[in-house]
């Protein structure tokens, strides 16, 4: 504690040049650009290494797995190093009472200054017994660590919107973090979120010491401001009406739009098609599979991955709004046809009566 980032790097044998390179990379990751490098350098020169605790609750650790695969190793190394990651069940060496002590010490010694990174949802049913660490419920642990935190970041869809744990019928009462803590939470949804996005959010917090610009759902605007669809390289095929009709058809080989295969790109806010995954190698649509909308709230409950409209509730798995609508439309037509036949028959009678009358009169 007490060391600045530069001091800590210098100790580890990094040169000043390495440090400046790192600052430039960090500035870029935080979306600051060339003019922000001086700001970053100044901050890292003097600012104390911020303490961070990484909490794991109801999750699969895919967020951690994603994080350690960030495509800028120098940023990653440095960040894991400079961040003073004092508690993380997955990555720390300590265990048992030592681990608990580390967590408590961090909270005690850095009141109001440490960052809480939460991975996973928190179960609230039955007194929270479905996720307990060291004899304490996830919820009570969360409240303890979040109380004096400088910032709370919700990693991934579990922490941001509940993800699979919160899917119907949600037996454990899994609840996203922002509903439980009484301070603003930065939501970084995705299952998992993109490593470089996570990196950038942390960098932003470190560099500027403030929360990045957030949208109405508290997601960083920079990465969740546009839909996957808007920046998708297959978008021209969508506009041209060229769609993959079935897996492995000619359109699929030509890389046509996957809209009709249930791609959720048009309703999903994420940076996949810009940042991409695994060092910018690819992303689901580029690999020929539609987006499943993993960063959207309730994506598990929004019905089959391979049709783009949700199933209609109560009408079986396969019925969409269209099947229900078609049945209603057809029933209406049938009703009207029957009505028209009856009317026509009655009308013939009236016409006959009128005719008879006219003949009488004339």
């Amino acid at each position: 504690m007490g060391q600045s980032i530069w001091q800590s790097m210098e100790q580890k044998g990094y040169s000043r040049r390495d440090f400046l390179q790192f600052c430039a990379a960090a500035a870029a990751a935080a979306g600051l650009g060339q003019s922000g490098v001086a700001q970053v350098t100044a901050a890292f020169d003097k600012k104390e290494k911020p303490a961070a605790v990484w909490m794991h609750f109801q999750e699969c650790t895919c967020c951690s797995e994603s994080f350690i695969r960030a495509s800028h190793p120098i940023v990653l190394d440095a960040l894991l190093d400079v961040l003073s990651l004092n508690y993380s069940e997955t990555l720390m060496a300590a265990s048992g009472f030592q681990a608990e002590k580390s967590l408590n010490d961090t909270i005690q010694n850095n009141k109001g200054k440490y960052i809480v990174l939460v991975e996973g949802a928190v179960p609230t049913h039955d007194g929270g017994v479905y996720c307990m660490i060291g004899g304490k419920t996830a919820e009570s642990i969360l409240q303890t660590v979040a109380k004096d935190a400088a910032a709370v970041v919700a990693w991934g869809s579990c922490a941001s919107n509940g993800c699979v744990q919160a899917a119907k019928p949600n037996p454990t009462g899994a609840t996203p973090i922002y509903k439980l803590v009484d301070k603003p939470v930065i939501n970084v949804p995705g299952c998992p979120p993109i490593a470089d996005v996570m990196m950038a959010v942390v960098t932003h917090l470190l560099v500027l010491g403030q929360v990045p610009a957030l949208d109405s759902q508290n997601r960083p605007k920079e990465f969740y401001g546009r839909r996957v669809h808007d920046t998708c390289y297959r978008r021209p095929n969508y506009d041209a009406g060229l769609f993959v009709e079935s897996w492995d058809d000619d359109g699929a080989r030509k890389g046509y739009c996957l809209y009709k295969m249930g791609c959720k790109g048009p309703v999903t806010y994420n940076a996949c098609s810009v940042v991409r995954w695994n060092e910018g190698t690819s992303y689901p649509i580029q690999s020929g599979h539609g987006c499943i909308g993993c960063s959207e709230t309730g994506f598990w409950d929004n019905g089959p991955f391979y049709q783009h409209l949700p199933s209609f509730p109560g009408f079986g798995i396969e019925s969409t709004a269209d099947t229900v609508g078609t049945v209603i439309g057809a029933a209406t037509l049938a009703g009207i046809a029957a009505h028209a036949v009856v009317t026509s028959v009655r009308k013939q009678k009236v016409i006959a009566e009128v005719h008879a009358e006219e003949q009488k009169e004339s």
């Binding site: 109405s216 759902q217 839909r227 808007d230 021209p236 095929n237 969508y238 506009d239 041209a240 009406g241 060229l242 769609f243 009709e245 030509k254 809209y259 009709k260 959720k264 048009p266 309703v267 999903t268 806010y269 909308g293 959207e296 709230t297 309730g298 994506f299 929004n302 409209l309 949700p310 209609f312 709004a321 269209d322 229900v324 609508g325 078609t326 209603i328 439309g329 209406t332 037509l333 009207i336 009505h339 028209a340 009856v342 009317t343 009655r346 009308k347 009236v350 009128v354 009358e357």
Partner: protein
């Protein structure tokens, strides 16, 4: 007999088979008729393009995307028709306060007991094909008015959800006013689902509406169909001789 009066034989003579006297009445003013037909065109365009957006077809041959913009045009027509339809609807709302008595907002909401009675009467006449008991309203009959009121609610719902979906691809203030809808309905999945479902309400409405317009043209026998083109209907002159 008035100057515009005509004598026609009624197909449903209520006073024996005496000839009945009719009078021409200007019912649908020009703004009402313009609203009706602009709305009809926009609605049909919206339903067709809306359905296509949900289930696109490959209409023309193209090997590469740059050769075509077919789906882009479908969406463009949908958005264009939506704007026409919304402003047309707003104009009609305005006319519901300043127009003649047949266009007034009161004919859409059955606040009076006479309207409620007429609703029952018209349901019986439409569904069971019984004869109309009382005199049916010259403008919208009370049941039609109420159904139109429901379609107005559906208009509003489609407008809100439609602009909410559109807001993500627009920076203009009008659609941006509806961004709050998206989280409320559980993300764009939900908004899109409801917006799509209501398409079928309009399809059903159009089928029933067109049919009943013809049906009432027949049972009322006073130019219901032609009235929406020219604006005139016939009203029976009371002659209790």
């Amino acid at each position: 007999m008035s100057a515009s009066g005509v004598r026609v034989k009624n197909l449903f003579p209520s006073n024996g088979s005496q000839p009945v006297e009719y009078r021409r009445i200007y019912v649908w003013e020009l703004p009402v008729r313009a609203y009706h037909w602009i709305n009809a065109l926009a609605l049909v365009a919206l339903c067709i393009t809306g359905y296509l957006i949900g289930a696109p077809v490959r209409a023309f041959y193209a090997a590469e995307a740059y050769q075509q913009y077919w789906f882009g045009w479908v969406r463009f027509i949908h958005f264009l028709a939506a704007f026409v339809y919304v402003f047309n609807f707003l104009a009609r709302l305005y006319w519901g306060f300043v127009g003649n008595k047949y266009a007034k907002w009161t004919s859409f909401i059955p606040l009076k007991s006479a309207q409620r009675k007429e609703i029952v009467d018209v349901i019986k006449a439409d569904v069971l094909e019984t004869k109309l008991h009382g005199p049916i309203s010259t403008g919208h009959n009370a049941l039609a008015g109420l159904i139109y009121f429901f379609t107005f609610l559906a208009f509003v719902f489609q407008t809100i959800t439609g602009f909410a979906l559109y807001s993500s691809m627009s920076s203009s203030w009008l659609p941006r006013m509806f961004t709050w809808v998206v989280p409320l309905m559980g993300g764009e999945f939900g908004v899109r689902f409801w917006h799509h479902l209501f398409l079928w309400f309009f399809v059903s409405f159009v089928i029933v509406h067109v049919y009943l317009a013809f049906y009432h043209d027949y049972i009322e026998g006073r130019g219901t169909i032609s009235s929406i083109v020219g604006g005139w209907k016939f009203d029976r002159v009371k002659n209790d001789k």
